[in-house]
Amino acid sequence: MDEKTRTRIGGPEDPREGLEAVVALRRTLEALEAAQVENAFVAGWPWARIAEVLGVSKQAVHKKHAKRIRAKYPGEPPKRKSRGA
């Protein structure tokens, strides 16, 4: 990282800067997780496999992402057998 990308206010000793970085990371992490789960889904990965790599339960990943992704990709999920309602 070059000097220009360093923030201007305060240094690492500025608590606000540190705390704001945490907020920025949390928001970005959330968006990144949503994007990568969606990418895996589009690539045909089943929820169980996505969950395994994320290190969480299948239920957790399904609860968090399925509704949003299904709404975005209506119809049959790619390369997967149909299921009951």
Binding site: T5, A21, T28, K67, R68
Partner: protein, 169 residues
């Protein structure tokens, strides 16, 4: 309860603020979102004052993202790299069913807006009161965002009262 004595314009601006927060991935409504809401609703003395000082909705949104990007940079992370890596699926916005609460700063701003209304002897809480409430958060995100756009709270308040008097007279 929250919206007692609010004008239609100021209520619309707070509702617009929640839409902005959702779009930008803010898991709580910040005082910067209240500012964006005023610009997005594009009504009332407050939006007029902001526009007259050269603050547009697009500028304010861009600055919001710039502040996020700067905060990430301080930890050595590039938002651009993440965006590139994740591809088109990368989207900061929160899903429609996600509940977004008021942040303490947003609550403070609205409490201060009500005090401002009383101080001025007004019967209704308009966008100008909300804006005064927002810039009253001296250490808030909205004040810093405005500062990055070259607008100080003092100049903004002055412009607000000019426009208010003009509207009354």
């Amino acid at each position: 309860m929250m919206f007692v004595r609010f004008t239609n314009k100021s209520r619309t601006s707070v509702e617009a603020a929640f839409e902005e927060a959702r779009m930008l991935g803010h898991d709580a409504l910040g005082d910067e979102d209240l500012l964006l809401g005023i610009l997005r609703a594009d009504e009332g003395v407050a939006a007029e004052a902001l526009y007259s000082l050269g603050v547009t909705l697009e500028d304010a949104r861009d600055e919001c993202e710039e502040m996020l990007s700067d905060a990430l940079s301080s930890t050595g992370i590039s938002l651009e790299d993440i965006r590139r890596e994740a591809g088109e699926a990368f989207d900061m916005s929160l899903p429609d069913d996600r509940k977004i609460p008021y942040s303490p700063r947003a609550k403070n701003a609205l409490v201060r807006a009500r005090k401002e209304m009383r101080r001025l002897g007004d019967n209704h809480l308009g966008t100008e009161h909300v804006l005064v409430g927002i810039v009253g958060n001296e250490d808030g995100t909205a004040v810093r965002l405005l500062g990055r756009l070259g607008v100080s709270p003092e100049v903004l308040e002055e412009r607000l009262f000019e426009l208010r008097e003009r509207a009354d007279g």
